[in-house]
Subunit: 655 residues, 2 copies
Amino acid sequence: MSKITIDGNTAAATIAYQFSDAATIYPITPSSTMAELCDQWASEGRKNIFGNTVKVVEMQSEAGASGALHGSLAAGALTTTFTASQGLLLMIPNMYKIAGELTPCVMHVSARALATHALSIFGDHSDVMSVRQCGWAMLASGSVQEAMDMALVSHIATLKSNVPFVHFFDGFRTSHEINTIEDIDVEKMKSIVPWDNINEFRLRSLNSNNPHQQGTAQNPDIYFQNRESTNAFYQRTPDIVQDTMNEVAKITGRKYNLFDYYGAKDAKYVIVSMGSSTTTIELTIDYLNKVYGNKYGLIKVRLYRPFATSVLLSALPDSVEKIAVLDRTKEPGADGEPLYKDVVAALFDSKFKNVEVVGGRYGLGSKEFTPSMVKAVFDNLENEKSKNGFTVGINDDLTNTSLEIKNIIHPDSGDVTECKFYGFGGDGTVSANKSSIKIIGNNTEYDGQAYFEYDSKKSGNATISHIRFGKGNINQSYMLDNIDFVAVHNQSYVTKYNILKNVKDHATLLLNTEWDMEHIDKFFPNALKKDIATRGIKLYTIDAVDIAKRLGLGNKINLIMQSAFFKLIGIMPYDKAIDEMKAFAKKAYAKAGEEAYNNNCKAIDSAKDELNEIKIPEEWKNINTSDEENTDQSYSTDKYYTDIMQPVQRLDGDS
Amino acid sequence: MSKITIDGNTAAATIAYQFSDAATIYPITPSSTMAELCDQWASEGRKNIFGNTVKVVEMQSEAGASGALHGSLAAGALTTTFTASQGLLLMIPNMYKIAGELTPCVMHVSARALATHALSIFGDHSDVMSVRQCGWAMLASGSVQEAMDMALVSHIATLKSNVPFVHFFDGFRTSHEINTIEDIDVEKMKSIVPWDNINEFRLRSLNSNNPHQQGTAQNPDIYFQNRESTNAFYQRTPDIVQDTMNEVAKITGRKYNLFDYYGAKDAKYVIVSMGSSTTTIELTIDYLNKVYGNKYGLIKVRLYRPFATSVLLSALPDSVEKIAVLDRTKEPGADGEPLYKDVVAALFDSKFKNVEVVGGRYGLGSKEFTPSMVKAVFDNLENEKSKNGFTVGINDDLTNTSLEIKNIIHPDSGDVTECKFYGFGGDGTVSANKSSIKIIGNNTEYDGQAYFEYDSKKSGNATISHIRFGKGNINQSYMLDNIDFVAVHNQSYVTKYNILKNVKDHATLLLNTEWDMEHIDKFFPNALKKDIATRGIKLYTIDAVDIAKRLGLGNKINLIMQSAFFKLIGIMPYDKAIDEMKAFAKKAYAKAGEEAYNNNCKAIDSAKDELNEIKIPEEWKNINTSDEENTDQSYSTDKYYTDIMQPVQRLDGDS
């Protein structure tokens, strides 16, 4: 097995490319990378499992992409597309047709919120839930590795079942998370491809050698009967998916089930959830069951449609007394969210009839979902009267739906190191961190994970990079909350943001600044100084702006800061890290010429000499912090500004 | 109260026009009439409740109509639209926005099947069910009268709640059924209009006097909280709808509830259903409870979203043991259809936890739903083991979902007369019948109902008109099944169709034919002759083709046949009927000139003299019918032809 460090979009697109004759695309955030990669690979001449390059066609909108998808499939070409959010909504009419005509097809969706009261480019399941009635099978991935594995399951199972598949994973959280995963060997993949089904699909196509009629209009006399004639195909699909999962397990060693149970064999309290939340819930269950002796469990929903009720029932432990179903979507006016109602319908007529089931919403628009929130969900089940229709992750003081988060927990899965970087949109921090995590994944015994908080404005605002590395796969699908290293790439952030939030005692703080000790003492907020001193934070500075200027690099301070990071973090021999950074720079600056490359190399080399360790004055420990707060007198009389705009700008909008 | 005889589309459009400043339209079958009527009324200068004519704008597609709807609403104009099927699907993106921004609006939908394996222009709830997650309130009408009443409830409740409403009724069955209903007085209507809410709506609009920002993009920090902030509006909506129903009842005398219970107070078996099926179920319950002493009941769902669980629970009788939920939609891959799952979720955590609930599908693509099918649904509940996920109305020999219809029942609601007309597309039969039912509704003590079976090819094929009249409102929402009078407007149909299907003994058969008795004896199939003789059918002929030719009317035999109908049916003085038919002809042929009108009057007058009563030979009773069948030897070896095409052409496709 070869390890690679890639994001979820790349993982899914890699498989999609292999199984497609054509891709009809209209890129939309956060699925764009999938479409763009296929386009790039096709232009580079990459071959699919049939030995051909994929024909990639960009249409005028997602409506066109889905229309072309339908037409291309009808003509006998295995065709795929990639979309999200409103893009998926525009595909609905064609989705009904493609499913109604029992056409094998996989659509990969990086699930995203829908524009309702406001637009959101971020992740939740509102888009995929809005197509659950279209007659497509739906398979959920919860991590980057799964995005690759389930993509493969989907592409094979659709050929065997003739039911089209939506393969989805969480937008940004999985689509943009970079993680070290195991690649799937193409030759092994070919060994489980159902070639006969592919032949049948091609023979069924509309062409002049095999004339037949398709897509007719039917009157009331026969429409209903014909509509029901697809039942058997849907009844067979869950078994086909499980068989395919078993075949994929043979070539990858990774075993999946339609519903995977995780946790105590005799669990009383079980969560049912889907997508990236499940990895976080797993970690939290490990921790709570071990540390507190709880009996908690989790059902991971992988095949959401067709919903295999009997499989769900046999996955549940007999000991279960209460279930919390988590939905990452909201349907105003419904008496419960979709997965909740699926589970209730499954249990209603079963031996679990008397199990109490509550439902709740989490993570809308990429709201964080953390171990502490998982604990709050279990705490709700522990209560004699458990709240139904709850929310978790917000404080709903209007309709009182939210669960209180009583304990902040950190279920570390061992030796994971957490590194956070505050960059400035466009300063190259995100790119540098992407290369750092690949350097770590490819050159050390550690697996890596990188996640990036973007602003939907995309450039010119703060970017926050979350990097984890450690031995064994890293599956915390939430942002850093127990941080070992913080890099602040813009000195003004020390007054704007709470840069030590979620930082461990004795952690390392790296600041890009022109300030010497005198200025630091003058400009650092008192609260920050006190925090640094009392919690034993190690402070380093580097004047990367000045170095970059000297080397003619403009505002690109990324390589200097990256080099300082490798120097301080000591995860691999520093010389080796320098070589790897230079190799990346060579690729990145290939077009910019020799001189640019050389200057960047100098930037990389500069860090070790220009890094300053700051000795923290003892008196910072006793500093008075009470007379700060709200220096922004000019605006402070406007309640909208002090209550809404200021917290949002401080990155405290979550609270 | 003034009585009017109109179809469901006209009923809904009448109210929509009153409450709209603007209508953004893109007509689609079967909703087109609503849009077209508003356009016509606007061009005629009709005034709405604000004293203005409505601005009607036709867009390039339903996507554009919904975008313009959103924009027009944001600008402070009360705006409506009308759509169905794929048209509704194209509105989904804007529907999320309109609801997310809490915009009062009513969209009227004549619910229609979606194109899946085949296109269907006919009615079911697949389209409205595909928007149930968009955050719109959804109010269902089950009859032409309700289409008017619920339209009014929707337009008032949306203003009070700020939640947009989808008001829907069954495509064709309600949209195109003509029925005698009570009109609502505009002045009384104005007395319950919430003028203050309209003012608030206008003041909230985007305009330069009141600058504000709307439709922003939100990041993960605040999206979820904001999304939840609409909860209170949805929580209030059911009460607002009930209050509005009560206010409407004050001005109309017709009382509705969110969930209306009908049937035995101590019912053991209850159906939950929505739309036009409910009137048929009511009739059947009356019959079965009275004739067989059954304890059956019905919950009519009116407000489908927000789904008011507690109201549903209090509407159910405590005696209920089993419930069958009927859905007029199909979601392949789901573990039950939407209304079924709503009901299960409602009961799961209630005192009805141990009630058995089964779900089933009926009426897809306008498949008939008759009293005999209602009985089959109750029979299924009577069985010790009741089938779940059933279908009713088809024979599913592939996956065995269908319920067997053991008894054909005719729960006549009193003195209803049923008249069926076989016309030829384009021969004017449908138009003549539309005027007949209005003549009856306006000039007799009878209420009338007319329903037309169309082919989606629209012209050149058989048209079948189903007319009922009787004292009191006629609410059989299914085709004629106990017929008093049959008119066959094309002599070739006697060999093609089973024209005496569902015809009562001693009924009247009127045939347009050039045949005399000798030809009749020669050309009538033996089975038909025997049927006529043994069942005492009275046979009349008229050579309308010849009369029309003599009068220069081409193929328009409609007025001749209509006149013959009034002569034979004797529902009103024949002279009066002739006057009314001539008045209609005057309007219809106003543009064609004096001569055309005069010739049509002659056609109307001709019927009484040219009508022949045929004396049925006694020997027809003993005729041998065994050696007929399948005279079409040329094709009979092709199984597709004999098993599929022949029955469909005989109008036996239903079986």
